[in-house]
Amino acid sequence: MSLEKNKAIIRRANEALNKKDLTVIDEFIAPDYVDHTNQLRGRENVKKFYTKAFKDFPDFHRTIEDIIAEGDKVWIRYRFTGTAPSGRKIELTTVSILRIVNGKVVEGWAVPKVVGKNLAIDKSLYE
């Protein structure tokens, strides 16, 4: 796969996830995918992850600010916006690192870790 094809996969997946279309996960995530940051294994857990994210942030939206590729990796800088359960709007920049083999994402890392303690630390989001 060319670098541009790999980037196109990520752009398409991002567009679909912004529309809460989880079918894109079957299309682009390998069955044995590993998310090293959130310690998720397998496609089904990725679906659960996004189902929860869409529930917590009904207006979940990620804009790709920049994207680069080399070898089998694509790195993306996202601007995430969403309204938390408390009603507060949040905005943050994150980077995802994805390894793509034969058109499927097999491995991923996220910086910084978005869900979990980073959001929990700001009590105004959940209280």
């Binding site: 080399e70 690192i97 910084p112 870790k113 929990a120 009590k123 959940y126």
Partner: protein, 151 residues
Amino acid sequence: MSLEENKAIVRRWIEEINKQNLAILDELVAPEFVHPTWQLRGPEGMKQFYATFLKGFPDCHETVEDIIAEGDKVWHRFKCTGTHAGEFEFGPIRLAPTGKKVTWAGVNFWRIVDGKVVEKGSVYDMLDFLKQLGVIEYTEKAKKLFPKDFK
């Protein structure tokens, strides 16, 4: 410059800063350099930043966990460790030494033109960093919501 040459510049910057050799910045930072994340300009801006930061964390050590390059861009995933042994000054924060050993991770973005760094930016886990220094506390509710993070 090739992608590998640009990556070598980033690695050299990190190695020399790990040795507290700030003179490397005169060599590697372009006069028109900008750091939009921290609003720094030029080699002097970058030098002042490190001088202040290294006062707070004199044993600060950065490792490159992963690195990628395309065109004039190099991005790398880093891990840093350091002991808060001096006054830490960062934006509005002034924190007397706590003696705490902390680690933080993130991604740095570099743009390199003709062997000089013209732009650098950062995304990192600031909240976790401040938590380790004892500046921020988790709420009881947070501990219940995300039990995995508080094992």
